[in-house]
Symmetry: C2
Subunit: 142 residues, 2 copies
Amino acid sequence: MKRALKEAKKAYENDEVPVGAVIVLDGKVIALAHNKRESSRDATAHAEILAIKKACKKLGDFRLSADMYVTLEPCLMCFGAILNARIKNLYIGAPQNKENAIRCEELNERAELNHKVSIVRGVLEGECSSLVSGYFLTKRKG
Amino acid sequence: MKRALKEAKKAYENDEVPVGAVIVLDGKVIALAHNKRESSRDATAHAEILAIKKACKKLGDFRLSADMYVTLEPCLMCFGAILNARIKNLYIGAPQNKENAIRCEELNERAELNHKVSIVRGVLEGECSSLVSGYFLTKRKG
């Protein structure tokens, strides 16, 4: 998660919502990415999607069977991508704080898909949450 | 939807699950794409994601405010991307036939996101469904 936080800070420096994602297979980092939605003007350019694309390219397979560390709870799109990419263990830093958010655990329970992911929350949560809330505080002040 | 079906047939010819997507803005087609998951070995390379990426690039904005026609009901990832890209009207051909699938309408109702999409089902459903079921029948026989 420390590596994911380092990625998230890169997004912060580029005035993007600070989210970082890391994919690990057999103890080795195979992909690192941070959110680039604003700079790339691409609705799909969230950290998780970019990391999955890199990892798929590296392994030459759309089934990763790897673990992901992400500093902020994934959105609907990214959680769907995590299932599609057959991520095994998902480690989440900060929770999504939007009201009525559909929690990843609920989607995971309900998902009819051929795959379920194991979810661990609250990894370096304090640091991950501070980064996101600091970003939005600065934006509001700005 | 006829254009989307034409895209889906390209996927079929490439031995991919036959799904096609078209994005329309002000009556003009701004993006066309078909599923390339197998050929690109990328878990995110569904027709809808590829079409959204093209449309974002074309408009230089991650908010599309456009309409999408897709031959098969979007998966979790793609429906999330449709919300993220601020698609206005979503026209679906064939329904997802997996048991316990989370229907797009339910996700749309529940989504805490800042955006809701208007969904119309059953557009050229017969032709869209036949294409998908034909593909899986051939695969099983193969």
